[in-house]
Amino acid sequence: MIIRWLVKPNMYQDSVKLMKLSAEMRQLDGVQQASVVMATEMNKETLKEIGMLVPEVAEANANDLVIVVAADSEEQALKAIETAKNLLAGSEVKQVESRLQLPRTLRSAVEALPGANLALISVPGTYAAAEAFKALNLGLNVHLFSDNVSLEDEVRLKEFGVEKRLLVMGPDCGTAIIDGVPLAFANVVSRGKIGIVGASGTGIQEATVLIDRLGAGISHAIGTGGRDLSDAVGGRMMLLGIDLLEEDLSTEVILLISKPAGAQTTLKILERVKRCKKPVVMCLLKGDLSGAMAAGVICAATIEDASYKAVALANREEPVTIPENFWGDYSEQISEAERGLRPGQRYLRGLFTGGTLADEAMVVLGSIIGDVYSNIPLRPELSLPSSRHSMGHTVVDLGDDEFTRGRPHPMIDPLPRNERLLQEYADPEVAVILCDVVTGYGSHPDPAGELARAVVKARTTYPENNVVVVAFVCGTDADPQPLSEQVEVLEKAGIIVLPSNAEAARVAGRIIKLHESRGVQ
């Protein structure tokens, strides 16, 4: 038996508390006897009786706190003393439980949640960068959902993040899935071997949903924020994300989702991808694939194709382009829908809540119906003079800054799209309205129901305009708004629902095209 002790001079503690503490110490492995007491004459007498009054304790006085432990080994005795010291200092976890109020700052929140490793920040942009800095200083990874953070701050944050090997996802990062945990706007998808790094929130959401739909799963989905690939930011987080997924044991295939990037950054990313030890698929939405292809990188022009290729690689198959009619043959539905159109109906109007979904639709539509006007156009000359008024074929991103200033995002608040839908429906030249429905955490509790009601209202208001409505639901059955229920609600309202966003755009485009060709005949 080994006796070890510690004297803390002039440290008064209540005796009841000390008795409790002594009892707790006696529960520890290898501890035969333990006593935490004030060194009063009486207590010293008791210690003497049980043979634990060592000379240093005998010399201590009534204002001194003493810890005496008898244990099987030195190590166990010292460990018990350490435990007692910590309990005396006040166990932090226990203290937090007794704290009813919420912490007021990041710093105190970290004290309240030992082991915290990520700060999810969605405060107004003016304050967001400062909170993100605090988080990094506290050793937290950052998911910066807030927008309106300056480019300068973004660069500083990411430089600091890279220095500390901490993620800075954002600013304006709508989604992430880390270790299976959906953050902010995210769908509930199967876990699997495909890791994503993406500069687009809805792009990541669509990719995770399609990968899930194709029978594969996600290891992690890391968002970078839309500006990460600009030359000013230099792809810092995409590069860190690639590093992480390359090392991550659960990831076998990496999918990168990017929008047109800065020239230098594109080179940097391609260079990194070529060195990557794991297969990488690169989705370059709205971008020029030739450089990447020349570099021998597997690439794709749509999220749909990129997801298909990533799943193929995860299944150890050839990453070929998604076959035509992969999801099915919709020719019959297309013909049926077209038959209901009048001769003057010729335009497509896409009303999107997800920016990347709008981008992808425009890419697909461009090869079917030609130029599409937009507030986020593929080419500058296709920019809408006014975002609030469509012309010709138009695709609008209703989640763009000018629509969300001072009001919630349309994924949360469906009203702006409902109003815009009525406006488009009223236009006798409109043939097809194409929509996205984004479910999952963060989104409206019933986005399909909202869209369905808006369509029914439009049909009742303008019965003479028989506009075809086509939609894609970006969601899964595991989402809080289950996919099957959402699809059912839409189909009941006569909306044509397709399994991918690209397919929805293709079907919508083909309806227009078919109607056009009949008109010519």
């Binding site: 008064y12 003016t126 270790d179 090392e247």
Partner: protein
């Protein structure tokens, strides 16, 4: 230290700042998370927000400074070692000098109670024969006025200390530094509230000639008294050692009684005993000096944002910061919100006065309010208010003091060591539990209540701190 690599290995534990729905979603999934009750920092002042961000870039430097300062504060072991005339023990004390509470102030700007106390002190010292003469002398420039704080001393209310006044000598055993405070005279017509009648002067003479020597004998015979132990025990007995000192005073008497009986003659002992028995606040000045000794040990550390003094002179409220040397950062002294003794009202109150906020600076007083439910009614609140005040103070302190625990908070250690940055960031002003002095000299205490340290002191100090860091 976290890294992004470890994050991917999970489990993900989230601090959510902003949209509460994100936290609800995580909770519904069983993911560990904590929601921050977030408000724009510094009450949304853009300039301060910018300064806070700038300071955030120096977090490591500041953390190191604070670690050192807090270490010294928590390691301090204040011991009452002696009682001696101020002029004999306080280094640099001059014959024609008077110390006062709060930040520096000149005679012409002083509040009523402080002027009254100065008049009394000059008569007490034999430097003037009448109040009129004393006022002329005080205004003549022939008397040096200085803050107690600048001489290692503290004094409640007017805080006047003159050369021949006996002071408690507190020695910090770990740091070796000393702090001083005068002896508490009791309530009613007393010098610290500006009274200067012959009765007041007479009592001061008795304290000098009888009380101080008797106590001194007892203290020396006891080999000094460990003040932390007394304070720790008093916190378990319903004191917060600023506005309630009943338990601590009783414990002090009990501790001294055996030596007093042995060392003193019967007559002296009876007088001293009845004086102490009628003064619930006798321990206050000792508590204050012990806090001062602890905080002085933590003062003057580069990069530290620890507040080492909060003090009021009845006109201005001032603070000092460990890393900013001896500069005071001041704002107009606020009025105390509280309850008045019968016959008095807001109109009678003097703005906040005295060095006693040194107790809050050290984690006692308002910061330990949860330990003293008995007096919350006195300051117009409920027992749960008391608990909430203490809980709120954890948001602005750098540490907790394991030596001082609060029964009502499950023996949680007291919030200790006010952080300049946290105060400005959260917009939470330190809470002070204090007495209210009558605005006219000599009327005395007219009530008690709570007061918040003015934010302007802290924002001014933060600006200076940012300047100093930027110049490095």
């Amino acid at each position: 230290m976290n890294s992004s690599k470890e994050l991917l290995n999970g489990p993900v534990k989230v601090v959510n700042i902003g949209l509460e729905s994100f936290a609800h979603d995580l909770t519904s999934l069983g993911i560990a998370n904590v929601q921050v009750d977030w408000k724009p920092p510094a009450n949304g002042d853009p300039q301060l927000v910018r300064l806070l961000s700038l300071l955030e870039e120096h977090a490591e430097y500041i953390n190191n400074g604070n670690k050192q300062a807090v270490g010294r504060l928590l390691d301090a072991r204040p011991k009452l070692v002696d009682i001696a005339p101020a002029g004999d023990v306080i280094p640099g004390f001059e014959r024609r000098m008077l110390l006062h509470s709060g930040p520096p102030i000149s005679w012409d700007k002083m509040c009523g109670p402080m002027r009254g106390a100065i008049v009394g002190a000059l008569i007490y010292e034999g430097l003037a024969d009448s109040p009129k003469e004393a006022e002329v002398l005080a205004a003549s420039g022939d008397i040096k006025f200085a803050p107690c704080h600048e001489y290692g001393a503290v004094g409640p209310m007017a805080g006047i200390i003159s050369a021949s006044m006996p002071v408690f000598v507190i020695e910090n055993e770990t740091g070796g530094n000393r702090a001083y405070s005068n002896l508490n005279e009791g309530l009613g017509k007393v010098l610290r509230f500006g009274a200067n009648s012959p009765e007041v002067i007479g009592r001061l003479h008795w304290m000098r000639d009888v009380l101080a020597p008797v106590l001194r004998k007892a203290i020396l015979a006891a080999g000094g008294l460990d003040i932390m132990t007394l304070t720790a025990k008093a916190l378990q007995m319903g004191d917060e050692c600023h506005n309630r000192n009943l338990a601590a005073t009783s414990l002090l008497m009990r501790t001294l009684l055996p030596v007093l009986c042995k060392e003193c003659t019967g007559g002296e002992l009876a007088d001293v005993a009845s004086f102490l028995a009628s003064n619930d606040h006798f321990y206050l000045n000792i508590s204050m000096a012990a806090c001062k000794a602890s905080l002085d040990a933590a003062h003057g550390i580069k990069g530290s944002t620890l507040i080492t003094a909060m003090a009021r002179n009845g006109v201005e409220f001032g603070i000092r910061v460990s890393g900013l040397g001896n500069e005071w950062f001041t704002a107009p002294a606020p009025y105390v919100k509280g309850l008045y003794f019968p016959g008095y009202s807001d109109a009678d109150a003097n703005p906040d006065l005295g060095d006693s906020a040194i107790t809050e600076t050290c984690g006692l007083g308002g910061f330990a309010m949860a330990a003293a439910p008995a007096i919350v009614q006195f300051v117009g609140g409920t027992a749960s208010d008391a608990i909430n005040y203490t809980k709120e103070m954890y948001e602005i302190t750098l540490a907790t003091n394991p030596a001082y625990t609060i029964p009502a908070l499950d023996f949680r250690p007291t919030p200790t060591g006010i952080d300049l940055i946290k105060v400005v960031e959260t917009g939470i002003n330190p809470i002070i539990n204090t007495g209210i002095a009558h605005r006219d000299a000599g009327v005395g205490q007219v009530g008690a209540g709570l007061v918040r340290a003015p934010m302007e002191c802290f924002t001014a100090a933060l600006r200076r701190f940012a300047d100093v860091i930027a110049r490095q």
